[in-house]
Structure formats: structure tokens, C-alpha cells
């Protein structure tokens, strides 16, 4: 091996006596480095953008989500609350099920007889009713192999937001009043969401504090503006509008979620009031469990593990487990991003192959140049295989050196990316990358994926490029070469 390395390195070092080989070799290294640089910078920025977009896309949702299936809603466990006095003849949310003392509140001595077609209870081995929510919750808590996983019940309801904005012009001291109304999705504060980081607002004389999307600020909404959330409820005298007083306690970044700006975070108490007055069917559309994992990456792994654990506990039919990439609003965007990345990776491989093809020309020239030396080495006992290995190593080293140069320059570029962006913006006369899509700054972290991809692809292609010259070199007949001198 030392012999192969020593000769290969000697051949690769530029020399004035082998000027043409040296020039082609330097050009090859330059071209491959350039491609490596381009691929790493592009993939790193793309991956950074993808990460940011994914984070924004799912910023209001946990990376993992469990929602009850139809089987759950049709189960005896869920339906029985509606015929039981102990449950006030109303279905329970997941949170209520979790804190209820009895899995089966039905008491035949007080409650009316259940209809004949009522669902059959899912019983445990000891004959008691399987407590789906509590058992599932325990399963979640046990399933923490991939880091801390925080389960949190979520509810989404519907309501109309009305805001009255009475503002005073600081210069003219004139007061003006405007109104804003919007049909909204209403959900409870999430304490476990690390990306939103909400501070639960206090309830004041103005009402409950709510957090709305920052887009409202563009319409002149300020923190402290008050109003109400209204909903309609059926009473004996007809449909009546109910109003719950609120005030704007803060704003959140809705990210790219389609309903983001229509989502209002409110106190759990307010959600309960809404739910108790709106028909069950509407309310239950938005009840489930958010599972907060430390990062998005762990969500996919944890999902598989959780599904397996639920399967083992006989609970899988009651839950639909989804990772962020499965969310109906996120999937098309994420799939598109993945397709773009795959496409560029393929293009990158093709460009690398074209760039590395220079290595073939360079090494073939080197083989011709070193024919006599190869014969001499063979006369001293170097086998054809080792001669071939010399040129294979030359190809490998050319690729490796080019990769290292490309990676180093890519790191430098990423470090000073903002400068480059500013320069591009200056050349174009307008912003090169719009902040609405790419954020205030382009992501400039070196992507380990792209680094691994480029290193493997370049060295592999270079090694392959060395094969043809290596075969040619190994076929040199020393007797012919040495005799011809």
C-alpha cells in the first residue's frame, strides 16, 4: 500500500517535466472543486430553507399527533357517556376522559336501558371496560426511547372574533374607533409547544386574554384591544348569539400553516364554554393529543415506535398517529421540497460525473506519459494489480483533494453568505431573496447531509473514473516498453 501511495502521490504532484498532465490535473481539481462548492452551498441553503419552512409549517402543531378514529367515536367507551347520568348525558373530551374516575359511568339502576344496537364494550381480560384514553396515555408516557415526548390534549373549536380598536393618534390626540370581525378557529394555549413559547395571559376585567396571529397587527390591532368571541346556541326561544369578552394579550407567528392566521389561542375555560354550547359533532372535529418531541427528526422514529406500542396494547384501531410530514396541510409542501432536493441531487451527480470525466483524460495521459516508468516498476516486481492501484489511487486522491477544496470554499462562502446576498441584491437593484419566503437571512449552516453526499459521490465517481486508466496501465507489457527504449 505504501508503494502504491508513494508512487501515486509522486505522479500527482505538478511537475514542469509533465506540464500537460499537470495542467489537466489542476483543471480537473478546479472544476470538481467548483462543482462540490456549488452543490454544498446550494444543498446547505436549500436544506436550511426546508428546515425553516417545515418548522414554520408545523409551528402550531406538534411534530406528532394522535387523533381518535371513527372506531373510537363509535365505541361503547365514547358513546356510553351520552346515556349516563354520571357524565351528564354528554360525550367527554379526551382531557375529560383522562381525569374521569370511571371508565364506564353507566349505572343500570339510574340510567335508561341502552338500545339493542348500542356498541359492544371492549373488555379487558378481567372483564372490566378498557379505558382507551388512560391506557393510551400510559402507552405514550412509556414510549420515550427517542427523547422526551410531552403529550398534551388539544381542542379546536369555532367562533367569531370581534375586536373594537379605539386608538388615539399620538400627534393630533384624536381618537378613532374601528372594528374587526373574523370567523376563527379557536384553540387552547399550548404550554408544551417550544416554537410558539406562549405565556398564559391573565383574565382581567376586559375578559380572557387571547393570542392572535401577528398578521392582525397589519390591520392596526394592538395588544390590549378588546372585543368578544361570539357563537350561536340553540335555546328554547330560538338561536341566540352568545358573547365571551376577550382582549388581545399578544401575537404569534402563524408560519405557513394555511389556517394559521385564523387560529386564536384562548384559555381552556373559554374553549370549554364554547364546546358545551356548540353541538358535539362540531367540537369533536378538533380533539386530539399533541405529542411534542424535542425535534422534528425524532417524530418519524417515535411515530413507528408508538404505533407498535399501541398495536401491542390493542389500542391502535382507536387512534390515527401522524407525524408532521403526514399532516394534510404540510404533505404537499414537504413532498415538493423533497422532490426538488432529489432532482437537484441527481443533477449534482450528473455534473459531478461530467467534472470527474476530466480525471479519466488526465489519468490516461499520465499512463501514456509514465509507460516507461510502469515497465521499470514491473521489472522490479510491481504486479499489474498494484500498477492499476496506483492510477486508481490517483483518481481517488484527485477527487478527495477537489472535495476538500470545494468543502473549504463552501464553508467560507456559507460563513459570508450574507455578504454575497447583499452583493447580489446590489447587482440586481432589489432584494435577491425575499424575506417573506426565505426569512431575514438565508440559512448558512453547513449541511451534514450534503457534506456526506458530496464526499461519497465525489470519491466514488473519482474512483470509478480511475478504473479505465488503471486497466490500461495494468495491461502494459513491461518487456515491450523496456525493449522499445
Amino acid at each position: 500500500m505504501r508503494f502504491v501511495l508513494s508512487v501515486a502521490l509522486k505522479y500527482l504532484l505538478p511537475k514542469s517535466r509533465q506540464l500537460s498532465v499537470s495542467i489537466i490535473s489542476l483543471v480537473s481539481i478546479l472544476v470538481i472543486s467548483l462543482v462540490v462548492w456549488l452543490v454544498i452551498v446550494f444543498l446547505s441553503v436549500t436544506e436550511g430553507i426546508e428546515t425553516n419552512w417545515t418548522k414554520q409549517l408545523v409551528s402550531l402543531n406538534a411534530p406528532l399527533r394522535m387523533t381518535p378514529t371513527e372506531a373510537y367515536y363509535k365505541s361503547y367507551y365514547y358513546q356510553i357517556d351520552q346515556v349516563s347520568l354520571q357524565s351528564n348525558y354528554s360525550a367527554k373530551t379526551i382531557g375529560e376522559k383522562l381525569i374521569s374516575s370511571e371508565a364506564d359511568p353507566y349505572d343500570p339502576s339510574f340510567d335508561a336501558e341502552v338500545p339493542a344496537d348500542f356498541p359492544k364494550p371492549d373488555l379487558k381480560a378481567d372483564g372490566s371496560l378498557k379505558d382507551i384514553v388512560k391506557e393510551s396515555w400510559e402507552t405514550i408516557l412509556k414510549c420515550k426511547k427517542h427523547g422526551v415526548m410531552e403529550p398534551e390534549e388539544y381542542e379546536v373549536s369555532l367562533g367569531n372574533l370581534h375586536l373594537s380598536m379605539v386608538h388615539e393618534n399620538p400627534l393630533s390626540k384624536e381618537r378613532s374607533q374601528t372594528f374587526l370581525t373574523q370567523a376563527s378557529y379557536i384553540t387552547s394555549f399550548s404550554e408544551a409547544n417550544p416554537s410558539v413559547k406562549m405565556v398564559r395571559p391573565e383574565t382581567t376585567e376586559k375578559g380572557s386574554g387571547i393570542v392572535i396571529a401577528k398578521n392582525f397587527q397589519n390591520n392596526g390591532v394592538l395588544a390590549g384591544d378588546a372585543g368578544h368571541i361570539s357563537y350561536y346556541t340553540q335555546t328554547t326561544s330560538g338561536i341566540q348569539e352568545q358573547r365571551l369578552p376577550i382582549y388581545v394579550a399578544g401575537f404569534y407567528d402563524p408560519g405557513f400553516m394555511p389556517v394559521g392566521s385564523k387560529l386564536i389561542f384562548v384559555d381552556q375555560m373559554l374553549i370549554s364554554m364554547l364546546r358545551s354550547n356548540i353541538s358535539i359533532a362540531d367540537t369533536m372535529l378538533g380533539n386530539g393529543i399533541h405529542l411534542w418531541t424535542p425535534s422534528l427528526k425524532e417524530a418519524v422514529e417515535t411515530k413507528k415506535e408508538l404505533q407498535k406500542a399501541l398495536e401491542e396494547g390493542g389500542l391502535s384501531k382507536y387512534w390515527k398517529v401522524e407525524a408532521f410530514s403526514d399532516y394534510e396541510f404540510a404533505r404537499p409542501v414537504l413532498e415538493q421540497l423533497q422532490s426538488d432536493k432529489t432532482l437537484f441531487s441527481l443533477i449534482a451527480v450528473i455534473i459531478l460525473i461530467v467534472a470527474c470525466s476530466n480525471i479519466i483524460s488526465m489519468l490516461l495521459l499520465l499512463v501514456n506519459d509514465k509507460k516507461k516508468e510502469i515497465g521499470i516498476l514491473q521489472s522490479m516486481g510491481a504486479s499489474s494489480f498494484r500498477v492499476a492501484a496506483i492510477f486508481g489511487t490517483c483518481g481517488f486522491f484527485t477527487g478527495l483533494v477537489s472535495s476538500i477544496i470545494g468543502i473549504a470554499t463552501a464553508s467560507l462562502t456559507l460563513k459570508h453568505l450574507q455578504g454575497l446576498v447583499n452583493f447580489l441584491s446590489f447587482l440586481q437593484g432589489h432584494e435577491a431573496f425575499h424575506a417573506a419566503f426565505y426569512g431575514e437571512m438565508l440559512p448558512n449552516e453547513l449541511s451534514m447531509h450534503s457534506l456526506t453526499f458530496v464526499l461519497i459521490a465525489t470519491t466514488l465517481i473519482s474512483l470509478l473514473a480511475g478504473i479505465v486508466p488503471a486497466i490500461k496501465a495494468s495491461r502494459i507489457r513491461p518487456a515491450e516498453t523496456l525493449r522499445s527504449e
Binding site: 505504501r2 508503494f3 508513494s6 509522486k10 511537475k15 517535466r17 516507461k372 516508468e373 515497465g375 521499470i376 516498476l377 514491473q378 521489472s379 522490479m380 516486481g381 510491481a382 504486479s383 499489474s384 498494484r386 507489457r477 513491461p478 518487456a479 523496456l482 525493449r483 527504449e485
Partner: protein, 229 residues
């Protein structure tokens, strides 16, 4: 005594441009410590025979044994590295490397340690001293004279302490005085170091100094003189 090198019915046919049988069933046995000269007219195939005996060329048919081991395509390179040292008419040195690096190359191919102070390094310096080139150790061989180049080649051939030295017109490119010096060096390898020498030469004086003389004529190797005069 077992022959150190044995050829049995070796044939060589060159197919291009038209088939020519250059060597016809060569049988030869070389014993350790012998010096053998192969003489003949130009174009008779002396160098081809030497390359066949040195495993640099593959025979069209027949067998070759080095120290009793049959030479096959897979064993030829290691056998060559361990047991054979070549000396060529055109020296065939690595021109960009120093005399010392050239001498060390067979050791590097053999996978030996060649760093300063290692056995191979010390031996290479000793060999260069023995051929009278201790003052040219770090000279690039391109800069050396013909005689010096051939002495480096002899030192290189001896690096792995091979039992057999094969020389192809070793003094063909040298003036008569330098040629005598090279002849002395080669024969001293036989006499002092116990090496086996096979030399292809037109030089009658050198051939006369060898133990055996074989003449190659029309593809047939005939012994002209066996044993000392």
C-alpha cells in the same frame, strides 16, 4: 544440486504483424553461483529469452521454474521482486528520483521499511558505496553519467538481495573503460556475493569471463561452452 532457474521447452511466438516463432523449445538449467552468457546475432531473440527467464514476458508455451517454484501469471511479480534483479542496456532508472530512491524502490515494492535508519535504507547506502557512488546518493539520476547510471542500476538490482541477476547488454551504451568497470562489478557479484548471473551480450570479453556460454541461433539455444576454460 537443484537448478536455481530452469526453463523447459520454452517457446515464444510473436503474433504481430505476422506470426514468428522467435524461440523454439528452449531448455536451460542455471545453477546457483554460475555466470552464463547468452550470445548471438542481433534480432535472434536474446533479450526476449532474458525477459522470459526474468518473468517479464509470458512464454507461448513451456514452463519456467525459479528455485523450484513454477512461474505462473500470479506468482511472476512476487518471484521477480524476491529473486531477480534486472540490469538493462538503457539503465531504466526512475529519472526524477535520486540514486538512493532508485535503489530503495525494490524494497518499497516488497513492502519493506525504507525510512532512514531502516535495514533497507542502510543496505541501499552500502550498495551505493560498493559501486562507488556514495557521493551521488542524493543526486537525481537524470544528472548522472552513463557509467554512474549503470552502477546505480546494479545497486538497485542488488537491493532485495536477489539470487539471480539478469543483465541485458549491460555495457552496450558505455565506453570501453566504463564497460570494463561494469563487467568487474557484475562478476564480483558472482564471485564475492554468490549471485547467479545471466547476461545477454555482444561483448566477447564479458562472455569469455562467464562460466557458461550459450549461443542463440534461429530460435535454438545451443551451449557453446559449459564450465570454466
Amino acid at each position: 544440486m537443484e537448478p536455481i532457474l530452469q526453463a523447459k521447452r520454452l517457446r515464444k511466438i510473436f503474433l504481430h504483424p505476422s506470426p514468428v516463432e522467435i524461440l523454439k523449445e528452449i531448455d536451460i538449467e542455471i545453477y546457483p553461483g554460475e555466470s552464463t552468457a547468452i550470445v548471438g546475432n542481433s534480432g535472434e531473440g536474446k533479450s526476449t529469452l532474458l525477459y522470459l527467464l526474468g518473468t517479464l514476458e509470458e512464454a507461448s508455451s513451456g514452463n519456467l521454474y525459479i528455485k523450484g517454484k513454477k512461474v505462473t501469471p500470479s506468482t511472476s511479480a512476487p518471484l521477480r521482486n524476491a529473486h531477480i534483479g534486472f540490469i538493462f542496456q538503457s539503465f531504466h532508472l526512475l529519472e526524477d528520483q535520486t540514486a538512493l530512491q532508485n535503489v530503495l524502490m525494490p524494497a518499497l515494492i516488497a513492502g519493506k521499511e525504507i525510512r532512514k535508519g531502516s535495514f533497507a535504507h542502510t543496505r541501499a547506502l552500502e550498495l551505493l558505496e560498493q559501486v562507488g557512488l556514495s557521493h551521488r546518493v542524493s543526486f537525481t539520476t537524470r544528472l548522472l553519467s552513463g557509467g554512474e547510471k549503470q552502477r546505480v542500476a546494479i545497486a538497485r538490482a542488488l537491493c532485495n538481495d536477489p539470487a539471480i541477476l539478469l543483465a541485458d547488454e549491460p555495457s552496450g551504451n558505455l565506453d570501453s573503460q566504463t564497460a570494463l568497470l561494469i563487467h568487474d562489478l557484475l562478476l564480483s557479484c558472482v564471485q564475492k556475493l554468490g549471485k547467479t548471473l545471466i547476461v545477454v551480450t555482444h561483448n566477447q570479453e564479458l562472455a569469455a569471463l562467464c562460466t557458461n556460454i550459450h549461443r542463440l541461433h534461429q530460435g535454438i539455444l545451443l551451449p557453446e561452452r559449459l564450465g570454466p576454460l
